[in-house]
Subunit: 186 residues, 2 copies
DNA sequence: CGCTTATGAATGAACGTTCATTCATTCTAG
DNA sequence: CTAGAATGAATGAACGTTCATTCATAAGCG
């Protein structure tokens, strides 16, 4: 019965998304997950480890969603796919799932160990940037700067959509995606 | 003695910046601020209101820092000033002050009431965008999209500098600022 | 097959601690 | 002397965690 563990993780994700980390108590979590308080400790050694596992779990979900479908086409097509995947994270934001910014504020998300896990999870993105640089399609800057220039706008809009609940029109988004791409295009 | 109130806010900011919101207890806060636990309740009705006040206080600090010196020069010069002010927030990030991303995750930061306060606080930035659009210097998009395209890269780099502790060279930053500006330049 | 025994997942009451908040008391400035 | 500011011990609720107990299922055996 490994789905107990998953029930617990999903319930924890839900509570943090809706009420914040400071409202995640083990008894509430147990109640929401439909298990007894003690059961949680069969699957996680303590609250810290549970949050640790949740962090990894959520990052994997987010990365899958962002990289989905970005394996085919020209580098520009693949870039646009990722750009709109990020936007989609803001549009389809439910109250049941943690989003990227909430995730980055889980304790431990800034540890060297976790950043390494992050780098590995987003390896396909780095591969795309390297390919594009090798082809001479985009400017030769390091990946952090490229991400900041071209994808951070999408992240920012995603964040704003979630915060304000306001959506942007497809036309507007197309324009911004275009300008984002041209910002790093050689 | 209104500096008692400020002592308390500064100590709260410090604790949240260093140990996170979930480690902010009223007794620890009292000890760190150098007052008795009961004294806090002379200045704030309860913990929620204290965090409310802290949120406003920190936003004002951040806005002052970001807008500092951006009143003079051409729209491009003023834009560059703001862009590097944001970067400076990442570089001079101390452990004693809350940064922008930590601030956005204080409970209540997404309330309609607070977003209105935010808009008012950043009014000079909206004025700058409007002036630039009126002059025809930048593309005619709404402020959210302009911010996402041109300033979100700076915010992203600021965030990364704080998370990883890594700084970028002035040359690199100049290049990225330039490309950010050109992304919205007509 | 039926009966007994062993297993370990699941439980939730109970534990000691820490929490936010209160208030009778003490201090202090005018 | 007095009024308001400051105190910090006291309070009960809520916290993370533990553990004796329960119970459905599996294993062992004649």
């Amino acid at each position: 019965m490994d789905n107990k563990r998953d029930q617990i993780l999903r319930a924890a994700e839900n509570i943090i998304a809706n009420e914040g980390l400071h409202n995640l108590s083990m008894q509430k979590l147990a109640k929401d997950a439909g298990v007894a308080a003690g059961t949680i400790y069969r699957y996680f050694t303590d609250k810290d480890e549970l949050i640790d596992e949740l962090r990894r779990d959520v990052l994997t979900q987010i990365a899958d969603s962002i990289l989905q479908g970005s394996e085919i086409g020209s580098v520009e097509q693949r870039f646009r796919c990722i750009w709109f995947n990020i936007i989609r994270l803001g549009e389809t934001c439910t109250m049941e799932r943690l989003n990227f910014e909430q995730y980055t504020h889980l304790p431990g998300a800034n540890s060297e160990e976790h950043r390494q896990f992050e780098r590995a999870t987003f390896a396909p993105l780095h591969a795309l940037f390297n390919e594009a640089k090798a082809e001479g399609v985009i400017v030769d800057l390091n990946d952090e700067l490229l991400f900041a220039l071209a994808l951070e706008p999408a992240v920012g809009l995603c964040r704003r959509m979630r915060r304000t609940g306001l959506n942007f029109s497809m036309d507007e988004l197309e324009v911004v995606c275009d300008l984002s791409w041209h910002a790093i295009k050689r």
